[in-house]
C-alpha cells in the first residue's frame, strides 16, 4: 500500500515537471500530472501482478489516451499536451538507454534483446493510443448521429 502511495505521489510530480519542461499551458499542468499519475499507476500495478511490460504499456496507454481525449474535449486544447505527459513515464527511455550502453560495451546479444524490447514497448504504446482514438471517434460519431436524429 505504501508503495502505491509513493508511486502515485512521485508519478504525479514527475509528470507535472515534464509539463514544465515541455512548456505546457500553465492551467493544464496539474491535469498533465493527473494523466501521468493514472497511466503510471495502472502500469505499475499490472507489472507487479506479473504482467509483461508490453501488455501493461498497451493497457495503460489506452487509458491515458482515453483520459486525454476527454480532457482535450472538455478544455478545448490539443490532445498532445495530455498524452505526452501521460506517456513520458511509460516510454522505454530506461531500456533504450540500457540497450545503447550494452552496444557501446560490445555486449551485442544483450543490446539487441533490449533494443527489440524497447521497440516493442513503443509500438505497444502507439497501438494503445490508436485503439482509444478509434473507440473515441466511433463514440463521437454515434453521439452525433443520435443528436442529429433527435433534432
Amino acid at each position: 500500500m505504501t508503495m502505491v502511495i509513493t508511486h502515485l505521489f512521485t508519478s504525479f510530480i514527475a509528470a507535472t515537471s515534464f509539463g514544465v519542461i515541455f512548456n505546457a499551458p500553465r492551467k493544464s499542468l496539474l491535469r498533465c500530472g493527473f494523466v501521468g499519475m493514472v497511466g503510471w499507476i495502472i502500469y505499475i500495478i499490472l507489472v507487479n501482478n506479473h504482467y509483461d511490460a508490453i501488455p501493461a504499456s498497451l493497457i495503460s496507454a489506452v487509458f491515458i489516451s482515453a483520459i486525454s481525449h476527454i480532457f482535450a474535449k472538455i478544455y478545448r486544447t490539443p490532445i498532445i499536451i495530455f498524452s505526452v505527459a501521460g506517456i513520458i513515464p511509460l516510454v522505454p527511455g530506461g531500456i533504450s538507454y540500457d540497450a545503447m550502453r550494452h552496444f557501446v560495451l560490445n555486449d551485442y546479444n544483450m543490446a539487441i534483446q533490449l533494443a527489440a524490447k524497447a521497440f516493442m514497448i513503443s509500438g505497444a504504446i502507439a497501438v494503445g493510443l490508436v485503439i482509444a482514438e478509434v473507440f473515441f471517434q466511433l463514440f463521437m460519431k454515434a453521439k452525433h448521429k443520435i443528436t442529429s436524429r433527435n433534432t
Partner: protein, 252 residues
C-alpha cells in the same frame, strides 16, 4: 496580380506560418496538416494539399499558384505555442478572425517566448529525475544524488545547445557530465545504485516523445515523417548511451 490571386497567395502564407510554428513546437504531423487544410478551407480554398515532414512543409492549392516550400531547421517542444496556434485556427474556422487578424496573431505568437524561466525548468528536471529514480524502484537514499545530477545534466544540456550548434553533441556531452557526477556520488559514498541514479537523471534528455511520435506517425501513414523522427530518436539515444559509455570505460 488579380485580387483573387492575391487573396490565395496570402492565405497560403498564413497556412505556412501556422504550420511552421506548430512543427517547430513539436506538434504531430497529422495535426499540422489538418490545421493548414482547415485554415485554407475556412478562407475559401477548399482543395489544398500539404506535405509535412519534420524538416520542411510543402503546401499547394489546386489553382495555378506555384506550391510553396518552407524549411524547418530548428525543432523544440513548446506545447503552449501549439495550443495557441490551435486556438487561432479554431477561431478562423468559426469565422471569428479575418485573414489579416489571424496573420498578425500568428506573427505575435512566433516572436514571443513563453517558456518557463530556465531556473524553473532546471528545477523541474531535477525533481523529475529524482521522482523517476524512485519510480524505477530506486531507493530513497539516492533521491538527493539523482536530484542534483538530473538538474546539472539538464542545465548543461541547455547551455551546450546554445553554444554548440551541432545536434546530438550536446546530448552526448550532457550525458557524459551526468555519468561523471553520478560516478563521483557513488565513489564518495553518498549514492548507492549507480544505474538507477543514471537512468533517473537522463530521463529529461531521453527522446521518449520522439520514439512514440515516430511510431504513431508510421501508423498514420506518414512514412517519411515517421522514419525521420525514428532516426532522430535513435541518434539521440545513441548519443546519450555513448556519453555514459565513455564514463564507464574510463572510470571503472
Amino acid at each position: 496580380m488579380s485580387k483573387n490571386n492575391e487573396h490565395v497567395f496570402e492565405v497560403i502564407e498564413l497556412c505556412l506560418l501556422a504550420g511552421k510554428i506548430m512543427l517547430q513546437s513539436g506538434a504531430e504531423t497529422y495535426r499540422v496538416e489538418d490545421t493548414m487544410t482547415r485554415i485554407a478551407g475556412a478562407l475559401g480554398i477548399p482543395n489544398s494539399h500539404s506535405y509535412v515532414t519534420p524538416t520542411g512543409i510543402v503546401f499547394s492549392t489546386d489553382d495555378t499558384n506555384p506550391a510553396k516550400l518552407i524549411r524547418i531547421s530548428e525543432r523544440s517542444t513548446d506545447l503552449y505555442k501549439v495550443t495557441l496556434v490551435n486556438g487561432v485556427s479554431r477561431k478562423v474556422s468559426n469565422g471569428e478572425l479575418t485573414r489579416q487578424e489571424a496573420f498578425e496573431k500568428l506573427m505575435e505568437i512566433e516572436k514571443a517566448n513563453y517558456t518557463f524561466p530556465i531556473y524553473q525548468q532546471v528545477l523541474a528536471a531535477s525533481i523529475a529525475s529524482a521522482c523517476f529514480m524512485i519510480m524505477f524502484l530506486g531507493q530513497w537514499h539516492d533521491f538527493f544524488p539523482a536530484f542534483i545530477t538530473g538538474g546539472v545534466g539538464f542545465l548543461s544540456f541547455i547551455f551546450l545547445q546554445r553554444v554548440v550548434q551541432i545536434r546530438f553533441f550536446s546530448e552526448f556531452l550532457a550525458s557524459l557530465i551526468i555519468g561523471v557526477i553520478s560516478m563521483l556520488f557513488v565513489k564518495i559514498g553518498i549514492g548507492e545504485q549507480l544505474d538507477k541514479i543514471i537512468i533517473g537523471s537522463v530521463m529529461p534528455l531521453v527522446p521518449g516523445l520522439l520514439i512514440t511520435n515516430a511510431v504513431r506517425d508510421l501508423m498514420a501513414g506518414h512514412l517519411v515523417s515517421g522514419l525521420s523522427k525514428g532516426a532522430e530518436a535513435f541518434l539521440t539515444a545513441f548519443a546519450i548511451g555513448a556519453g555514459i559509455a565513455v564514463v564507464f570505460a574510463t572510470m571503472s
